[in-house]
């Protein structure tokens, strides 16, 4: 029976691939990545330097995969990774990194630090060094189907409520529909206007779609905590329901990491191609607009700006579609000073939002977003990720800022022709 440390080290060893090798071999420790990280710029604590957060993996790589490292460790000249190291790095990796990958964009030698952090998390998770909030969310996701503990009954109750409040019939378990729309628990419980909005839009555009009562959750706590085993289990549930319902395209809702998980990482986690296409709701709405199926009328005249969710923009490549949609209905849309692939994170990505321990730090690093908004003097902030939306609302409230946060989908739905 191996110890937690041995499991962690073994997992870290298994994470070393060509990219890891090239990244650690080319890093000159220049410190440029720190200047792109909101956890560093807002705290000036050098421990939040992005490349420093990857230290457990670097240490294992050096000692296990380099000649000099092997020699040093066999002569006792370098210290092996310890449980204390993992314990110390747990807060850096899970509290002090939202995996926004802004650091990746500025590295002079091209190190994808977010990729390395994801691998560090695999080692942390294998050794059991995961924040309680994330562990519990993961347990609930596996047991009930969602990290908030929301079951299918909760979804069906929300569907019923939509009918009662808005007279809208949400299609449930419709076999052969064009699209299967996944939802984050936030959208079922907190931002139910998303459900109302997509129903109105799809009805107007003549799109057939469905939600699944068997498995509806878009978020993936396995990805957030860095446990590919759990991530794969949750993904298999999606594959199962999509296959059963004969779905060709799955819609990733307004949720950042759900999009990168479904669209980009999911197939690699499962080790095979997914049996369906994946589109983000922004991509679909923009395509419907281009096809002439989504027509809008009137305009939203408030001064507003768009917050790029990191996983959708910088990590997902959905950059122009939200802007094209906004330009259709919002004449007073202005860009933040740093936007698109160089946006600043809301602070709650990468599972930070599910980690209550990180709340004070998360609210502290929100200062950068506050400065961005103060520069623009906007009354409305629009985004396309419900997790960002929640983090933005909390940050705005903490800073007593009078800015309303809304999702693009509902903004479009409010202006349907």
């Amino acid at each position: 029976m191996s110890t937690p440390l041995e499991r962690g080290v073994d997992m870290l060893k298994s994470q070393v691939d060509a990219r890891v090798e090239s990244y650690f071999s080319s890093c000159t420790h220049c410190g440029v990545c720190a200047e792109a990280c909101l956890f560093y710029t807002e705290t000036h604590d050098p421990r939040y330097t992005p490349i420093y957060k990857t230290e457990p993996l670097r240490k294992v790589w050096q000692q296990e995969y380099t000649l000099w490292g092997k020699l040093s460790s066999s002569l006792g000249l370098s210290k092996p990774l310890t449980e204390k190291d993992l314990s110390d790095w747990e807060t850096l990796v899970y509290d002090g990194c939202s995996m926004c990958s802004r650091c990746t964009m500025v590295c002079p030698v091209g190190v994808d630090i977010a990729y390395l952090i994801r691998k560090v998390k695999e080692g942390m998770a294998a050794a059991g060094f995961v924040p309680e909030g994330l562990q519990n969310a993961s347990k609930r996701a596996l047991e009930f189907g969602s990290p908030m503990g929301l079951t299918s009954k909760g979804l069906l109750a929300a569907v019923e409520q939509q009918k009662k409040d808005h007279g809208i019939d949400i299609p449930v378990d419709v076999e052969g529909a064009e699209y299967l729309c996944m939802l984050s628990s936030n959208e079922v419980v907190l931002y139910t206007e998303f459900l109302t909005a997509i129903s109105k839009i799809f009805s107007a555009a003549g799109v057939t779609w469905t939600v699944s009562s068997k498995y509806f959750e878009a978020t993936n706590t396995g990805v957030q905590m860095g446990n590919s085993g759990i991530a794969a289990q949750l993904l298999e549930r999606l594959v199962e329901v999509a296959t059963e319902l004969k779905i060709k395209t799955v819609i990733s809702p307004e949720c950042g990491h759900a999009y990168t998980t479904f669209r980009w990482d999911g197939a690699n986690i499962l080790g095979r191609e997914l049996p369906f296409n994946v589109v983000h709701i922004m991509e679909l709405l923009d395509q419907l607009r281009k096809d002439g199926k989504l027509k809008t009328t009137g305009s939203f005249d408030e001064r507003l700006t768009y917050h790029d969710p990191c996983n959708i923009s910088r990590r997902g490549g959905v950059l122009d579609q939200p802007r094209d949609l906004l330009n259709q209905v919002a004449p007073n849309f202005v860009e933040m000073h740093e936007n698109m692939e160089m946006n600043w994170c809301c602070g709650g990505g990468g599972g930070v939002s599910s980690n209550e321990r990180a709340d004070p730090l998360r609210l502290k690093v929100f200062d950068v977003k506050k400065r961005q908004l103060d520069e623009l003097n906007v009354t409305t902030l629009v985004t396309s990720c419900s997790n960002c939306r929640l983090m933005l609302e909390e940050g705005l409230e903490e800073n007593e800022m009078d800015v309303e946060v809304i999702g693009i989908t509902e903004l479009i739905a409010d202006h349907l022709a």
């Binding site: 990219r19 090239s22 990729y115 980009w264």
Partner: protein, 213 residues
């Protein structure tokens, strides 16, 4: 005796260690390249890899004002060093005699002095920044410091051997170069080769997702 050692067996050892080490390190990338990306690409990964290698040569405007020292000192050192390495008259002569078999343009003496001063200033500035800045001080490894010192010694002995006034000084310079060559494959100096695949991996990864690198 020392000159004979430096110009003979030690040079051969340094050359073998350098080439075998560098090629071996690069070969491990191919050996560990086992991942297939099963996701359907949006754009070309190859163009992303190429663009990342080009764009990596200048800082993004969003952070350029915050990293001026690293960028300016970095360029000073690298440009000065490469001009010296490839265009200083004694180096061109050495390359013609031992590698290419033909000679090419050399820089005049004044350009050698200017390049050396720029390279020294850049290297010293980078090292001072590494030691004084809280971020770089925390993240720097022993290898970063050893590499800086070795390169400094190579440049210093090179200047001392200038004009080939003394064969002992020239041997000292060559000895320091050989030490650097032996250390190179096992150190942070490998970034001189590894930055290309590193940028390419990330560029391809983001490029196929449709993100401009």
């Amino acid at each position: 005796m020392f000159e004979q050692f430096v110009n003979g067996i030690f040079w051969d050892i340094a050359l073998i260690v350098f080439f075998v080490g560098v090629i071996g390190r690069l070969a491990t990338l191919f050996l560990r390249s086992k991942r297939i990306d099963y996701s359907e690409p949006r754009n070309s990964g190859i163009s992303g890899a190429i663009m990342a290698n080009i764009h990596g040569f200048y800082p993004r405007k969003e952070i350029s004002s915050r990293v001026r020292i690293q960028v300016i000192a970095g360029y000073m050192f690298h440009l000065g060093f490469f001009i010296l390495l490839f265009f200083a008259a004694p180096h061109v002569k050495f390359i013609a005699e031992h590698i290419t078999g033909f000679s090419y343009m050399t820089i005049p003496y004044w350009a050698f002095i200017v390049s050396a001063q720029i390279a020294f200033a850049g290297l010293i500035l980078l090292w001072v920044h590494r030691v004084l800045n809280p971020v770089t001080r925390l993240i720097s490894k022993r290898s970063d410091h050893v590499s800086s010192i070795l390169v400094f010694v190579v440049m210093l002995t090179g200047c001392m051997a200038l004009a080939e006034a003394s064969s002992e000084l020239r041997a000292l310079h060559r000895f320091s170069v050989e030490l650097l060559m032996i250390y190179f494959p096992f150190s942070a100096l490998m970034h001189a080769f590894m930055f290309v695949p590193s940028r390419a991996f990330t560029g391809a990864f983001l490029g196929r997702r449709g993100v401009k690198v």
